[in-house]
Homo-oligomer: 184 residues x 2
């Protein structure tokens, strides 16, 4: 294992922090590591029908460009991840989901962040509020699933959680692990 | 888009940094964002034969536990990502690869990091050096690919790049995009 000797400094943003720690490695050697302390997050592959999903266009400050991703966001304090997925879907697309199933829970950046993302699949969508989160989302798109696979294959979609969500939904469907009434 | 107003503070580790920036959102509102400035990285799904891959056990400080992952690491300054994948494979497992193909290039943590990971698939492996990177790697394992799919399905493997590497190798193989002599 590796153990913290001390935290040298910490940056605090609204909902998470980044620290620089001095760490003792398993060989006894010491080094410095940046560690992002991040709340859990949820993402959702939301199906208006069996052949399409909802995606959002948004500006990503960290990479300085607009991206096409599945809806996602950080959990509020005390909020469960299924509730978080439903809330983010509603805030980012205006849709509520009558059906939702968990697909996978993973660490996106295991080298320096404790962030966990749980990805859900949602169906039986109903249009709710028209008030979207305009601070973050510039456009909602309904995209054919075959086209999403093409956009991944072409390297146009480059967002990790979107690729994992689409790939694992497919794999779970092929294994018969998606409820038979998911697309009713 | 979102634009930086100023950087409030920065943490510097050995090979990357984390900054806290004040940012103007597309709606004109301002907020603070943590932004990790990370070198590009490479990961490799390495096949000793068509049915097995090499994986490494290592302690991950950010999540405080040991994980099972495909070999991976940050590029050295000026190093191309294919060279980085070959070097990390060699340092972490002792194997050299005669064949290597790019599978995918993606952003693992698009909300706060500019890290790019390019994932490769490697075959025709030959045992090279016995000197492994003992600071980071505790054990190298050869695991049946079917079992890797099970470990993902069971939530035992929870590392994003490993899931994307395995899923996209499978998808590309089914699309006929892996060279026919890849497993010779």
């Amino acid at each position: 294992m590796e153990e913290k000797i001390k935290t040298l400094s910490t940056l605090y943003a609204n909902h998470f922090s980044a620290s620089l720690d001095t760490v003792r490695l398993r060989t006894g050697r010491t080094t410095e590591r940046i560690r992002v302390d991040h709340p859990e997050a949820a993402a959702v592959v939301a199906f208006p029908d069996a052949k399409h999903i909802l995606m959002v266009r948004q500006w990503r400050y960290a990479i300085g460009r607009e991206t096409l991703e599945i809806p996602a966001g950080k959990a509020d304090p005390g909020e469960g991840l299924e509730d978080c997925a439903r809330r983010e879907l509603q805030e980012e697309t205006g849709f509520n989901a009558a059906q939702i199933v968990s697909l996978f829970r993973y660490f996106p950046a295991i080298g320096y962040s404790n962030e966990v993302i749980e990805i859900f699949a949602a169906s039986s969508l109903e249009k709710g509020s028209e008030e979207l989160d305009e601070d973050e989302i510039s456009r909602v798109e309904i995209i054919e699933l075959d086209r999403v696979h093409d956009l991944i294959s072409q390297g146009i979609i480059q967002d990790g959680k979107t690729v994992i969500g689409i790939s694992l939904f497919q794999a779970r469907k092929e294994r018969g692990e998606i409820p038979t009434d998911f697309f009713r």
